[in-house]
Amino acid sequence: MRSSQESLATALAPSLRLPFCYLFAALAAFLVLNLLFVIERGGFSSSFFRQGQVMALAHLAALGWITMTAMGAMFQLIPVVLEVPLWSERLGQVQFWVYLVGVLGFVGSLWSLRFTWAPLFAFVLFLALSQFLLNLGMTLVGVRRWDWTGYHIVAALLYLAATAFLGLLLALNLGTGFLGPQVLGFLKGHVYLAVWGWVSLLIVGVSYKLLPMFALSHGYSEGAGKASFVVGNLGVLGLFFGFILGDGEGIWLLASSLLLFLAILLYAVQTYLILKSRRRKLDVALYHSGAAILYLLAAAVLGILSSLGLLPTGFQFYYTYAYLGLMGWISLFIVGQMYKIVPFLAWFHKYSHKVGLEPVPLMKDMFDERLAMAQFYLMNLGILGTSLAFLVNNGRAVGVFGFLVLLGAVIFIYNMVTAYRR
């Protein structure tokens, strides 16, 4: 028998303070994001795509909610999943405050249309992201056993580095215009690297670890997931270089879009195989994950139809595509996994040492499961409705369905706070 007392080990994980400060800042950002989304509903009918408020909301979602969550979760999960201690917990704590200042300042300068401040806060963000990349990079140097989740994480971090650099260039361009007519290509490259390279690849890689663990899945083939990784990277890189080096049109863009579409289909097949071989009923987290993957497929179909020229060009389509990606796919997946991460962290802190001595609550007892399912349906109704409202360019309906998502966000945050205080 091969034995390992030291394996895996929560002993490798950092103190709770580190992930919790990131996760609760992310929850606050999620609440503000959905609130501002409802307030700003009328602005989405504008034909001026680069307006400050829309850019502010996009960056609040990407930096304040999604990347903040990813950082907190990675500080906690990478030591556990890849069996390696975090390089510097102290650097993670310092980085939190630098990053927070960067997010607040950058989003605030965009929202208030004070674009002259944006480059300064973009630099602060770049500094914080560099700290994060240094910390994670040095941590990953110590990994002894690499697996497909590890490869996904490395690729995602490389895309984050490129996204941050492009973001800094774009922010500097706000004041100087030095990128000239190429700015649109840089903007598209920045967006695709962030959404499909950094965030999606990270979620995909982590899901190969978490979904089977939570669903008790065994004995499934991993071929589709491995193929998805290779094809997906080719697609993201193809799109990126297509946008940066050319005008992003023609056969190059189409081929890259098809590769990305194929990668998403392969990922959907892989998650289907994982969930098909599960030995548990679906729980609230797995419902969220499953629905998120359906939204991913919907976004992918819209994207490929657009690349094939089968959809009319227009801001309604871009907003629908972006909303399905950011809220349907990424946010819903994160919300689902937060139902695992936050209760676990709180449970571990309060009850782990009592196991075997006295009855301890189960993880699902850490929050109100019925409320969580109500939130799941509310958010789905809101996301579906908002997506359709964007498609028909109805600002009032965007506000109504956006309000349902906001209600869902409030319930979700209530459940997270409940789990923390349980």
């Binding site: 028998m1 091969r2 034995s3 390992s4 007392q5 394996s7 895996l8 080990a9 929560t10 002993a11 994980a13 556990v80 999943v81 069996e83 670890k209 089977p212 663990m213 939570f214 008790l216 065994h218 004995g219 599960r278 030995r279 548990r280 009923k281 695992k340 676990f344 449970w347 571990f348 009850y351 782990s352 040492h353 196991v355 075997g356 001595l357 301890v360 609550p361 189960l362 993880m363 699902k364």
Partner: protein
């Protein structure tokens, strides 16, 4: 074994015996040695379950020393769960 049924995996909601995590129990006088596994090496409940099992055995009358060793071979699979566990999870 019955005593170890008090130790629950808080994520799955099943005790570690019915989950099939206990591979072997050796008793020599007042010394008890247990070999157990987890559903996956990435399970973050590693410390909670191992220490919980140790505390449970240690609390039994007549036990002077309890030692729980975590092993990964043979790797756990769902067929190791008891009938009751499969019924509980609903997808045996």
């Amino acid at each position: 074994m019955e005593a170890l049924k008090k130790v629950y995996d808080p994520e799955v909601g099943l005790n570690i015996v019915d989950l099939g995590l206990i591979y072997d129990v050796q008793i020599e006088g007042g010394k008890v040695g247990v070999k157990m596994t987890l559903t996956t090496p990435s399970c973050p409940l590693h410390e909670s379950l191992v220490k919980g099992a140790e505390r449970t055995i240690q609390a039994l009358p007549g036990v002077a020393q309890a030692r729980v060793e975590l092993v990964w071979e043979p790797a756990w699979n769902p067929d190791m769960m008891s009938e009751e566990a499969r019924r509980h999870l609903g997808r045996g």
